[in-house]
């Protein structure tokens, strides 16, 4: 049996790491500094799975009951 990925769980939305360029672009459009984003811990099970370092920005694609799909970002701390 292949190893179970946390991201396959029904409660876990899709997480992906942003590249440096995309992250900078994002902060510019939002007009905020990275500390103003919600946080995710480096030792978060899903963060560990996708392999992030402190300071990265993670894009989370949530299934929202109101908007269908909603995109959120978290800063890795």
């Amino acid at each position: 049996m292949s190893k179970f990925r946390m991201q396959d769980h029904v409660l876990v939305p899709k997480h992906e790491v942003l590249s440096k360029e995309v992250a900078e672009e994002l902060l510019k459009t939002l007009g905020i500094s990275p500390e103003q984003l919600p946080k995710i811990r480096v030792d978060d099970p899903v963060a560990k799975e996708i392999g992030v370092k402190v300071g990265d920005i993670v894009r989370i694609i949530r299934e929202s009951p109101t908007a269908g799909k909603s995109i959120a970002y978290r800063l890795v701390v």
Partner: protein
């Protein structure tokens, strides 16, 4: 279908709205110019319905959850829900969710099975046996013989069969768990106590009684129910991490009502989803309708730091930067005293502190300042 897509993609509408519009356009077979006009009108309506900047969303959420909360049952109310399992409901449960209790009073899991196990009752039973904690008293009679200083275990054939265990397996498990020799004679298991001490005998007996022979310690009971096409296991007690690894369980669809456990095993985003789900289902069960958006805001506040925080003085409310706002919430004297000892300053930037000192608050129209342009 693509002809509506490029019209819709020009507008930053939520995908649920886009889907709905597209479905409606296709049903009516509207041409592109009309579609563009409709989308434009919809977009205007969407903008008009967005939250105003400076609106006190948190207070609205608090009131929207608080008012129906007054109508909830206050006493700890249990009911025999799906599969005769007791679950805490009503206000006590809602408090439990918002306080992020590490050990909820009635932990419960819903376990879905892997494809090749889900349709077959016997296979479901097999998985249930792997999960449910089995103790010696479930499968055998245990007697202490003080005269010969020994414990005699008489296994119950039927119970063993139901639990899919053999005497041999039980023997091995006891030997490993208690680190003693177990003798087998005439279908009975005998543990001899070497030391002639009544205390040692009773201690061994107690240990034996508490020894988990099979399954997961936290899972006290498993019930099998048919849900549509497949068999689902409901458990009393919860241990997400271990259950997800059990053979035959579908880890992706295994749930627990212990939110802190979800946070530890599946991470912050799963915890956010779990808070929303649990809160909504608790409210709905009581016949109360609260818009998800309010709950989502609460869940966002609880998970914003990457750590699951409770609402309350050890969490969201306790981390307010203003001394006055914290003092106004709970433990007034302690907060003021600590602040005085440390010589803290309050910058009066929030709402509560400005109301306390009698200044206009920075909300709504108070959030903007006007500067006259001199000509």
């Amino acid at each position: 279908m693509t002809k509506y897509d490029d019209v819709l993609n020009k507008y930053p509408l939520p995908s649920a709205v886009k889907e709905e519009l597209k479905a409606e356009f296709e049903r009516l077979g509207i041409n592109k110019t009309k579609a563009r006009q409709i989308v434009e009108r919809c977009y205007q309506a969407y903008l008009a319905n967005l939250m105003e900047p400076g609106e006190a969303a948190g207070i609205i959420a608090a009131q929207s959850i608080g008012e129906p909360g007054t109508q909830m049952t206050m006493r700890t109310f249990h009911y025999a829900g799906v599969a005769e399992i007791d679950v805490t409901l009503g206000l006590p449960r809602l408090i439990e969710i918002l306080d992020v209790r590490k050990n909820p009073s009635t932990p419960m899991m819903t376990i879905r099975l892997a494809e090749d196990y889900a349709k077959d009752r016997n296979k479901a039973r097999e998985v249930a046996n792997r999960i449910e904690a089995t103790y010696i008293l479930d499968i055998a009679d245990v007697a202490t013989d003080i005269r010969h200083m020994q414990i005699i275990i008489t296994p119950d054939e039927k119970a063993l069969e139901r639990k899919q265990l053999t005497v041999e397996e039980v023997k091995k498990r006891i030997e490993k768990g208690l680190k003693t020799e177990v003798e087998e004679s005439e279908g009975k298991l005998i543990i001899a106590i070497s030391e002639p001490s009544y205390k040692v005998l009773m201690d061994t007996f107690d240990k034996l009684r508490r020894l988990v022979l099979a399954g997961i310690k936290e899972i006290r009971r498993v019930i099998i129910r048919k849900d549509g096409e497949e068999y689902v296991l409901y458990t009393e007690g919860s241990n997400l991490k271990k259950v997800m690894k059990v053979k035959g369980v579908d880890p992706a669809r295994t749930l627990t009502n212990d939110i802190y456990e979800i946070y530890e095993v599946l991470g912050i985003e799963a915890a956010r989803n779990a808070v929303i789900r649990e809160a909504i289902s608790t409210l709905e069960e009581q016949g109360l309708e609260v818009n998800v958006r309010h709950i989502m805001l609460v869940a966002d506040a609880m998970t914003a730091d990457g750590e699951l925080k409770q609402i309350g003085r050890h969490g969201v409310a306790g981390e307010k930067q203003s001394i006055l706002a914290r003092a106004a919430f709970e433990m007034t004297v302690n907060n003021l005293l600590d602040a005085a000892v440390q010589g803290d300053k309050d910058s009066l930037s929030g709402i509560t502190e400005n109301i306390i000192v009698g200044q206009p608050i920075k909300l709504g129209t108070g959030d903007v300042e006007l500067i006259a342009r001199l000509r």
